[in-house]
């Protein structure tokens, strides 16, 4: 089977990548229509913790303080004078930082954002080091013939390859 007749040649992958990117960009950027007031209320209350109930969000909670906050958010959304962030800032101003479900990204609170990124970097670095180290024990790349042989063998055993 020569490469040019196979479906899965370089060009079909390029076509696939282009098609996928086009779909992603089209779908990702297109307007999903105006957000309803209830959508905004939901989005805001999902980011607020109910002050009396053990870490539940205002969106979920049925406690009276949560009901009151939800009503206040609904009023502010209804009046159209404040953005989502401003509404959240208003509630935070009154109840303090413990009603924010999303930690702030300033001061010591920012550690909760920085540490995962540090973990990602460490993980990537460790992977790099490990692969590099193991690769040095490698005795050079296989020749094209070897690869072809391996591929043929793999194709015939591709059921058991994953099995073992």
């Amino acid at each position: 089977m020569s490469k040019s007749t196979k479906l899965n040649n370089k060009y079909s992958w390029i076509f696939m990548a282009a098609f996928a990117s086009a779909l992603l960009i089209f779908g990702g950027l297109r307007d999903s229509g105006p957000r309803s007031q209830q959508d905004r209320i939901d989005a805001i209350t999902m980011r607020l913790a109910c002050p009396t109930c053990q870490g539940e969000s205002v969106y979920v909670s049925r406690a009276s303080a949560a009901e009151a906050i939800r009503a206040e958010v609904a009023r502010q959304v209804g009046s159209g004078l404040r953005t989502d962030d401003e509404t959240i800032a208003y509630i935070e101003q009154r109840f303090g930082g413990q009603v924010l479900l999303l930690p702030r990204s300033s001061g010591i609170d920012s550690l909760v954002w920085a540490l995962p990124i540090a973990a990602l970097i460490c993980g990537a670095a460790a992977l790099g080091v490990v692969f590099r180290k193991w690769r040095t024990a490698d005795d050079g790349a296989a020749s094209a013939e070897d690869s072809a042989l391996v591929e043929a063998a793999m194709a015939s055993t591709n059921v058991t390859d994953a099995n073992t």
Binding site: L7, N8, S12, W13, M16, A20, L23, L24, F26, G27, G28, R30, S32, S36, Q38, D42, R47, A49, C53, Q54, G55, E56, S57, Y59, V60, R62, G97, Q98, V99, L100, L101, L102, P103, I108, D109, L111, V112, L115, P116, A119, L120, G123, A124, A126, L127, V130, F131, W134, R135, A137, D138, A142, S147, V150, E151, V159, D161, A162, N163, T164
Partner: protein, 655 residues
Amino acid sequence: MFAAGGVSSSLGRAFLLVGIIGSLFGALASISSARSRDRTVARLIPRFSVLIFAAAIGAFATMEYAMITRDFSMAYVQKVGSTATPALYNFAAVWSALEGSILMWVLILAGYTVAVCFWLRKKMDDVLTNWAMGVMFIVSTFFFLLSFGPANPFAAGAPGVFDGPGPNPLLQNHILVLFHPPLLYLGYVGVTVPFAFAIGALVTGRVGEGWLLATRRWTLFAWGFLTFGIILGSWWSYEVLGWSGVWAWDPVENASLLPWITATAYIHSVLVQERRGMLRVWNLSLLVSTFSLTILGTFLTRSGVLNSVHAFSESAIGPWLLAFFAIIVIVSIGLIGWRGDRLHAPGSIDSVVSREGAFLINNVLFAIFAFVVLLGTVFPLVIEALQSRSIVVGAPFFDQLVAPIGIALLTLMAIAPVLPWRRASGELLSTRLFWPAWCGIGALALSVLVGATGFMPLLTFALGGFASGSALRQVVLATRRQGLRGFVGRANGGMIVHIGVILIAVALAASNSFTHSQELFLKTGTPAYFSGHSFELIKIVEETTDRAISVKALISIDGGKAYAPAITKYTKVGMNIGTPSVRTGIRGDIYLTLEPPVKQDSGEAHIKVFIKPLLVWLWIGGFLMALGTLLAAFPGRRRKPTDATSALIGSNDVG
């Protein structure tokens, strides 16, 4: 000690005392047998395991007896018992509060101890087995002590009490309370077995001899229960408790997710050890982390340091669990530091683009995942300790950080299953990934066509299609070659688990991104409309039983069958529980909750409607995960006819 509290109380404590002594002697026998190689001592080990199991059954049965006979002389029965609780929920009431849940832990742990002992009865004179049994017995001793001392379920109660409030109303309105906690505990406690073997291997320095392969199936077993328990829990929270979501990133939920993450990482990386003999120390570390995380999770959720909707009441067991956690961590890290280099395996990875390379990346991703969840869970405590200020780290934080990890894992799930061991050529990849990639494109095109928007959900759908293509390719090739047998075995079962995970990821992405809700004020006879559906209040029904008053609003959706969201007031506890009503559909659920206040004769109801796309696929995915786990637990190749199917893992299909 046995003064007040009646017969049950004294009997229960006597059983626990027997358990403590039995575990202590079991530990002594195991360790002395390991050191002295004395066979007569080794023969005692199974007897002690049977003894502690009997003691645990005795204690648990005593508790059940006290609960069923409503023995209100006991503090625990006063706390969770009630004459009005139906028999089934009364049975489950035993594990509805802290002391009883520790007692159930003890029972399951003793069960695992005796099961391991029975499984290894022919190998009782092996040093590694002895050390592993020793660890099992030490852990049992700790939990028996916990139940005997700080979490004593048999304490005498105040005199003159003849009725109680019954269990938390959330734990007496659905049959799942009988299954969800025991399943979860089978998972939590199950990881003790591989942990014990990990410690045994570290102490003896014998890590390359296949013991890990032997415990692999125990880990899979525990992992399966944990998975199933978690999914059942989220189904419960969605369909019954009316928390409208399936996962809230609550500390208690995180505590169950953490060991699941590290166990998942282990299930993958142990394959590298089997095949290539590498990653031994890493795998040990994963097992140790999994076990420590179950203890840490138990501490976090039962000591009252974290706020959670499902938290147990404050109690004195916090310091005990913390001390136990500290001991486990110190001993394990000490052993790994001491032995780690000696256990190091020769071997190298030829190429990043290989099965083992993919497993390594998988493990790094899972490690980051676990780190993020742990960090978010304990971060409020860090801030509290440093600045004595209280903050909340909630669902939006986890959603934002876990989404990219999930995308990375999906990408890996798309590519890794087709990778061969050692190395892969570009051409091989191109051949094997071609059709799976088209599945991804198809899924993407379909989601764009039906109107999905946003990069993250679309990326999830595309990668989900791609990854299921890769998983299906494996299953199709295997069944084509082996017929029905192609469904069983680790790799094929594993691929079915993958498909389940992908469905869950897609369902979560869809329901998180495209859920819409609306509050509706309904009047009988006047339908209201939302999102293309009509909602009409038929009537409001009130039902009274001797433990609760419930108000239901019968609502017809699109003129069809009536759904009945309800609010139930449990009179003895004075707590209102909302029960949602869900119209499940392949394309999406319509989720109704009734909002207070409701008046029976007003002809008016205030409801909230949620439209949740694709949510049912989450449960289908969960079912596939359970099915796949079962299939993976069956051996992939024919066993020797002489082998029992239930025993002897890894003795004949290694590699």
